[in-house]
């Protein structure tokens, strides 16, 4: 009988402990990254488009984000990145890079802050990227967003990292 009571108390304690970290997010500047695998994330965040035109793609991204109600924070055509924020809560960065000589890959990554005093969470729902980014983007580009198959999605001319040789002593 006594041990049942102890067990019940233990259960209650566990519940109380569970309630503590439920929404506890102490640092506002922290980012909760997705627990999903890199391959899965890359698949939901990237699409290939049948155009080699980087500027056209960047302009289409900007137009799409503006149409969706984002404010543009940063555009860097040289590096091929666009960063935007929607209603201070949702931040999205899209980057553009060539795939071969005929295609361009667009990868986007979104972070969301559910409550003002909380940390940001990486968005890892395929539906979000598909419905609220790639679908409108492909309409703006008049091109179909092609799923990027894993393994093919390597930037061209990948550069091997080489260890830095120490200067010869003599």
């Amino acid at each position: 009988m006594i041990s049942t009571r102890i067990a019940a108390r233990l259960g209650l304690l566990l519940v109380l402990l569970a309630a503590l970290p439920a929404c506890q997010t102490t640092r506002r500047d922290e980012v909760m990254m997705s627990q999903k695998g890199a391959v899965e994330l890359r698949a939901m965040q990237s699409r290939a488009f049948d155009t080699p035109d980087r500027y056209k793609t960047i302009r289409a991204i900007v137009a799409t984000l503006q149409d969706l109600g984002y404010t543009i924070d940063k555009v860097e055509t040289g590096a091929g990145t666009v960063s935007a924020t929607k209603l201070t809560a949702l931040r999205l960065t899209a980057s553009v890079y060539p795939r071969g000589s005929t295609q361009t890959i667009v990868r986007s990554n979104a972070l969301v802050r559910v409550q003002q005093q909380q940390q940001q969470n990486q968005v890892d729902d395929p539906e979000f990227y598909q419905k609220y980014f790639f679908e409108p983007l492909s309409k703006a580009l008049f091109l179909t967003a092609l799923q990027v198959e894993d393994g093919v999605d390597v930037p061209p001319e990948s550069i091997q990292a080489e260890p830095v040789q120490k200067a010869a002593t003599n």
């Binding site: 041990s3 049942t4 067990a7 019940a8 233990l10 259960g11 209650l12 304690l13 566990l14 519940v15 402990l17 569970a18 309630a19 970290p21 439920a22 929404c23 909760m32 500027y55 960047i58 302009r59 900007v62 137009a63 503006q66 149409d67 969706l68 109600g69 984002y70 404010t71 543009i72 924070d73 940063k74 555009v75 860097e76 055509t77 666009v82 929607k86 209603l87 201070t88 809560a89 949702l90 979104a110 969301v112 559910v114 409550q115 003002q116 969470n121 990486q122 968005v123 890892d124 729902d125 539906e127 979000f128 419905k131 609220y132 980014f133 409108p136």
Partner: protein
Amino acid sequence: MIKKFSSAVLLGGMLLGAVPLVGCMNANEFAKKIGQPPQGAVEMRSLQTRRFESLDEHALLSAAQQTLQDLGFTISEASADAGVLAGSKQRDATESGQIAGQVALTVVMALLGSAHTPTWDKEQTINVTLTATPIQNSKQTEIRVSFDRHMLNNHGHLWRAELLMDEKIYQEFFDKFAQGAFLEAQKI
């Protein structure tokens, strides 16, 4: 005894799983809610867009920059390659009526024996994004401008963020802009 013990732990475990669900709104769900196209996206587009008889995108962008500066915006981002300008301005959003209302409410609540923290709009930030797009197979360039704002209350917390849908704001911008660019804006 063991059965009771394990069922108690099981109950605790179930609650343990349930509590975080109630405690927090799912980030993905929230992102999908916010990420949706704004209501009235079509009207908004026509409100925010004008076409100009010019192919000189850079001249239009610099005219736009001057118009935004005239309106008190600070330019935070400009990319001629992408045809983008972005900026913001802060403005005091305090309204005496709102403060009076909040103070009156605090007094009434205090009389009823309850504490109410008076809260009112303190400061608002207006963001602007402007894009220039040449129209294919024509001699026109499309300018789209969009404004949004967020309000901080007197406790320094964000409590309202919205896209500006007021037609007057956009009309005023394009009137000023057309004067600056010596161009007649065409509604689309």
